[in-house]
């Protein structure tokens, strides 16, 4: 089957959302991105920000994770698969890779007969500045 997904168009709004994320180094919620855009005069509807972010996350262009309170937060992505070490206080984020962990999750899943495996792994802590 060829892709059933509609083609994404690089509209002013989507470019603005992408540009906004470039300015941040830590995770931001859709609401925060929307607010940041309004502040710079780039008016983009809230619904559109939500749509742009989820689309970009689905396409693997940005990272998405859930904060400890369950809100979806996004961040520009470095490309390869990795996890995050996030400061609980100031939000400072460090990208970390763990080949061993990847291997382990795959092994554990296989051992129990699970397929199509995905996983979430986030580390929260207090950074040295806080």
């Amino acid at each position: 089957m060829t892709s059933t997904e509609p083609t994404l168009r690089p509209t002013r709004q989507r470019l603005a959302v992408a540009a906004a994320l470039e300015q941040f180094s830590d995770f931001r919620s859709a609401q925060e991105v929307h607010e940041a855009l309004r502040a710079t005069g780039d008016n983009v509807g809230l619904s559109t920000v939500y749509r742009a972010l989820t689309a970009m996350a689905d396409a693997g262009e940005i990272d998405m994770l859930r904060s400890e309170v369950g809100e979806a937060v996004y961040r520009r992505c470095s490309g390869s698969h990795h996890h995050h070490l996030v400061c609980r206080t100031c939000g400072a984020t460090v990208e970390v890779e763990g080949p061993a962990v990847e291997k382990w999750t795959r092994a554990v899943a296989a051992e129990h007969g699970y397929t199509e495996v995905s996983h979430t792994l986030e580390i929260f802590g207090t950074c040295s500045n806080c």
Copy 2:
């Protein structure tokens, strides 16, 4: 400082919530637990179910994690620290332990100067029955 938390009382409602969780082997949301209680005639207010679940989770008596869509789901707990391998389709859950992972997260955090470390790690997949 001694505990500032008020003492928890084993009320009918809290016992009912605990008993309900005992009957399930997989993760359930507060709404689902509430519905299950209503079905058996145990009438417990929705707010109370929420309060009981969060209190039990805070006390470490049950596990809480966020489903892929961000809802809080709970499950009776086996005691020691562990993670979960959850079937995306039927919810079947396997508890898994990974000393290596625990060690790794601690090491990574320390390496970057992060303290008071906690982490979330959940594995999602499709079990052999689905």
